[in-house]
């Protein structure tokens, strides 16, 4: 019960701090920009392909358009997950330590409320905001691609599910940081970790370029274990790709190496299991650390 009171209070705080308003305005702008950009690029490419076809070009225009749509939607969703990731890190970092620093938490925790209930309430409310953001934004982008280009993602539900998992991982780890570190230090550590995870993804991608470099691929995986955010995004991006894209001739021939910020292979089951266990472990550690903390 108390956790829900804290969750409601956290949502009120987000509204009062104009966080919700800013989020909605920026999201609408983002989706509008994506829709306009997507439609313009798609139609101009469609025209130039038609002209090239009239001149006897050798490219299959349908395949070309699908490749372009795929690139645009993956790129757009990459932007969504990037913004959501930063939002998750900031919200998590601002969830506990600033309340301790300001002293506002003293009166709250002097109530008949356990530290577990307090953290659960904070996490629930922030997770609800972030999940709403990710679901609404990714659905909006995929809808735009569908309306303009008739785009069909391979498995939209799995793609969105994994993007949701990614923000939960980031929120959980920065909430943990917020219970043990001062706000600024936590922000720095979280951004560094996030950057490292991103770098791990790139290293892994480079390692996967044919003929393949096992050492780099393993290094990429090792870094991803530290914070499996980018690995989960790559897993999500795989499910965004339409089935026809994966069997397209360019891939079958091994000419194309795929997408640098996405993945043309599904997530390894072991990494998925780790990614699910990761936020649970972070929250468990956060509760243990917060219980021991003197205010």
């Amino acid at each position: 019960m108390s956790a829900l009171v804290v969750a409601r209070w956290t949502i009120l705080e987000a509204r009062r701090r104009r966080l919700v308003l800013a989020g909605v305005v920026l999201s609408v702008a983002f989706v509008a920009l994506f829709a306009v950009g997507f439609a313009l690029l798609y139609h101009s490419q469609e025209r130039s392909l038609a002209e090239a076809g009239a001149l006897g070009g050798r490219l299959d225009p349908r395949e070309e358009l699908l490749a372009m749509s795929t690139f645009l939607i993956v790129f757009g969703l990459y932007g969504v997950q990037f913004l959501a990731a930063l939002l998750a890190l900031f919200l998590g970092a601002a969830s506990v330590s600033p309340e301790i620093d300001s002293g506002a938490l003293h009166a709250v925790l002097a109530r008949p409320l356990s530290r577990l209930e307090y953290l659960a309430g904070r996490f629930l409310a922030l997770a609800a905001l972030l999940v709403t953001y990710v679901v609404v934004m990714s659905a909006a982008l995929m809808l735009v691609a569908r309306v303009v280009a008739g785009y069909q993602p391979g498995d939209a539900a799995r793609a969105v599910g994994l993007m949701v998992l990614e923000v939960l991982i980031l929120l959980a780890v920065s909430l943990l940081g917020s219970t043990v570190l001062p706000t600024l230090a936590n922000g720095v550590v979280m951004l560094a970790l996030f950057g490292l995870a991103w770098l791990g993804g790139i290293i892994g991608f480079v390692g996967s370029i044919p003929p393949g470099n096992e050492l780099m691929a393993n290094l990429g995986t090792a870094v991803s274990l530290l914070l499996p955010a980018d690995a989960v995004w790559r897993g999500a991006s795989f499910h965004v790709l339409p089935t026809s894209f994966l069997v397209a001739s360019s891939f079958a021939n091994g000419e194309d190496v795929g997408l640098p910020f996405g993945s043309t292979a599904p997530m390894a089951p072991a990494m998925l299991a780790w990614a699910v266990a990761y936020p649970v472990a972070c929250l468990g550690l956060a509760v243990a650390a917060f219980r021991r903390r003197d205010l």
């Binding site: 108390s2 009171v5 804290v6 209070w9 009120l12 705080e13 009062r16 701090r17 309340e99 300001s102 002293g103 506002a104 003293h106 009166a107 709250v108 925790l109 002097a110 109530r111 008949p112 409320l113 356990s114 209930e117 021991r292 003197d294 205010l295």
Partner: protein
Amino acid sequence: MSRTASADQTAGIAGTGSAVPAIATSSLRKDFGTRVALHDLTLAVQPGEVFGFLGPNGAGKTTAMKILLGLVRPTGGEALVFGRSPAEPAARRRVGYLPEHFRFQEWATGAELLDFHGRLAGLGGAELAGRIPELLERVGLAGRGGERVRRYSKGMTQRLGLALALLARPDLVLLDEPTSALDPVGRREVRELVRELAAGGVTVFLNSHLLTEVEAVCDRVAIVSQGRVVASGQLDDLAGAVTQLRLLLDRADRELLALLSRHGQVVRVEGTAVTLAVETLDVAPDLARLLVTSGYRLYGLVPVQRSLEDVFVELVGEVREG
């Protein structure tokens, strides 16, 4: 069980009543790294008492209070609030608290903050709808509940803190320097509030370094210095433990001091005024006769009641020197 045994023991030290004490601590200790904030604190506060916890800044008063609220974990010893460990959330159900720095979420309005705390304390929405305006009125914030806490002055914020402390109709109220931001009128209002609470049977535990505040409202006090209780007891007993006589004479020569030393201890000599610590006031008439027969002209002989401040400065000073 060991819990009740220690509670009885601490009640025994306080020497009053046999009911479960509102607050009982035994050998409570808190270290922050190498700094010892609290050294072996043992005290008991009985239900309905107004207890003053006096001490200079940094004596460990706030740390003790935070332990009683479960905000800080003791390094050693035990603390009980109505017989329960403050680490259990349920033990805090009957407790109201005004923190020393009274900082609250500034983005919220006063009424929202009261509503949030009320719900955490288990009060229902309907009950709070009536309780919140009543409390705002009681602490002098009538009609200001809709304003953001950010816009409140320091004094208003402290008043809001008092409303929060009283919100859940507590049996025990812990006030940490409750008048630090208030003007003289506000201070008087808080004193009246504390008296009202006491009249209603509420136990009040008051941290303060303002002696007049404590003298005005407290039944019993403990003086802490450097994490230890250096004196505790009824206010009158503490202040009246030693009696002094102030003598005003025509001269204060060596013979006089020798004469006085036989009847008490000379505390101070200022010109021809001598302050003498005596065991009982009964020596006064004999002393007057003796001085006159010895050829001194006696202009005045007044018993001086030591103030709490004298006791405080003396005790805290001793510890600092030691």
